[in-house]
Amino acid sequence: MTAATPYLGRRNPTVKAAILLAASLAILGFLDPRPLLGLYALAVAAVGVAGRVPPRTLVLGQVPFVVFGVGLVAVNGLSRPGTPIVPGSPVSAEGLTVGVALALRGLVIGVLTIGFLASTPPRDLMVSLVQHARLSPRYAYPVLAGHRMLAAMPARWATVRAAQAVRAPLRRGRPRFGLSDAGRAAFALLVTSIRSAERIALALETRGLGERSRTVWRPVPIGRGDVVLALVVLAAWVAAAVVDLGL
């Protein structure tokens, strides 16, 4: 942890995860687009400045949320009864408002999630959950092992595919790869992964990981700054709630 680490990167992962979950749940109370728009602007600014997430990452990361949001606006505008925005059109004003609010909810949660993931290494999150949230190491270490396995998945998939391609009939000069082949490859991936799960469990057990409490290398700190972060987020949500009720 150096001074070059952005503000969000220095905050405690457990606190950040708790704030993220609480904020995502609390946002379900808003159905007016105006406070949601304010929260969205605040969240983008906070993640950009305090998290120092590059604009490009921030924009690209939100593409799935925007796509999902467009679908929400369209389906709500069309499928909710209400006064048409233009006489004779099938799109209702009430439906559009609800759709925009739902899309904005998704965008706020999305930006906060991007900020959380960009500022939190998985290892720190798991260690912090063990230290501060009383998560059992019996779950933390296997999940961390799972993180490594996930990184190895594309290579495993490629191996299975290469083995299948050797035996596959050719179609237009290339090995066939249809839906059933994909299913077979997925099943092979599952079987080899379960085999390696047994080996990983044995390896963890022989090293005594997951038995009783342990000391931790590079413990993750928790401090006053984390309380400040929680209070700032709480203040933003209260302000949005005031706008929501007042207007």
Binding site: S24, P64, G71, I109, L150, W157, A186, A197
Partner: protein, 208 residues
Amino acid sequence: MSEPTTRRRARLPLRDIVLMVMLGVVFGFLYWALVQAWNGLAVAMGPAGDLAQHLLLGGWLLVAPIAVAIIRKPFVGIIAEVIASVVEVVFLGSPVGPLLLVAAAIQGAGSELPFALTRYRRFGWGLYAASGLLGAGLVFVWSAFRFGWYGQDILALRLGMQLVSGLVLGGLLAKVIVDRLHGTGVLDEFAIGRADAALRGPVVRRER
């Protein structure tokens, strides 16, 4: 390898925990690959893309019935689903965000309930079907609240699509996968393999 079973009966062996994590990782990876393909299709379908998510929902339920059928202990379905959602959110950056954890816990509870009612002793087609239906049905109540589906004209259509998907992809497909996995011998060291071995009597182990 000795488990202090007398002191804390509910404690799961490390092997079962790692298996649940691995199921979460493999399915997380496969879903992720599927979602990449899916996103493009959803854009092309426009408003129908929002509806089509219900057809795929059952696939998201798979982890719970598979884990319950293999490990056969209480709460395994819920834990496995939550681990899978952690993999998707924290490691893969799922666009659903942290609320996926809530949805996963609800799905897991729904999928596990039918098996829990038989005290994890029966695993027939009917139970898998009930598991898929309950998982899809319970999470529908939550999603409908979250995405404001109540009050839309197409609520019944959404529910119908989701239940069919849960039945086929989240229930019956799970049994197909578990049976085929069992056939490979890879599950012999888990509860499902032990239950089978107890029925069969002593067996000669295959050489790998």
